[in-house]
Amino acid sequence: MSLCHYLAVGAALFAIGLFGVLTRRNIIGILMSVELMFNAANINLVAFNRFVHHDALVGNTIAVFNMTVAAAEIVVGLALLLAIYRQRDTIYVENFNILKG
């Protein structure tokens, strides 16, 4: 398998995640699509590490950081979602207009 194949898989996952972020009405669906995009970025990092800089492991290390940031993001996002759900009783983003003046 050449590097091109892995990059294509990463591109497909990223595009699918982008489509999900733009079209989902449900905030949980948006968060799941964001996770797909994080995974696409991780695939690209690891693939470049394997094919271009085989002797160093910097790409793998950055992917570990990326994974940690994704975990923190999803935890805070879900906590915010639960807080908003408790107050507004909805999970659809078009009803999330609390900040609207």
């Binding site: 091109c4 990059l7 591109a11 996952l13 982008l18 695939i43 992917a63 906590a79 107050q87």
Partner: protein, 172 residues
Amino acid sequence: MESLIEQGAFWLLSGVAIVSALFVVSLKNAVHSALMLGLSLLAVAGLFGSLGADFLFAAQIMVYVSGIAVLILFVVMIAGSEDLNRTRQINDQWAAAGVVAVIVFGALWKLAGEFANMQAPGGAEPTTLGIAKLLLGDYALPFELVSVMLMAALLGAILFSRTDPGSEEGSS
């Protein structure tokens, strides 16, 4: 020469990852979406394995599949309301969003084509020792910063999700 098994594993894993990702963005029921997300993340873990990143393979399964996917599933069960199966889950801008996604995919595909026929040098080696040396060596400061960020996320999650005894519930 690469073996037929390697090629078969790549096509199988990437097919599962992409098809289940399509289900994640298109299924109506959020519970099914979350389960499909778990499957997609598992296939991505397999892709990490086929790239020789053994530490990331294990970390992906531990953090994503058994952590994040299960957490999302819990939240779907708590916050998912009854009308999830009846109301539309896709907004009115889906056509424009599809165009944007196709354009982004086309651009990335073109970029990926630049790297055609680039083969992996040598065989894969265990990566855990190298990652540990980098994390506690050159990347020690980012490592500490990430631990601070995780602490902040933990405290923030507790702060946002607790019920305040002083204020009344349901005030909008």
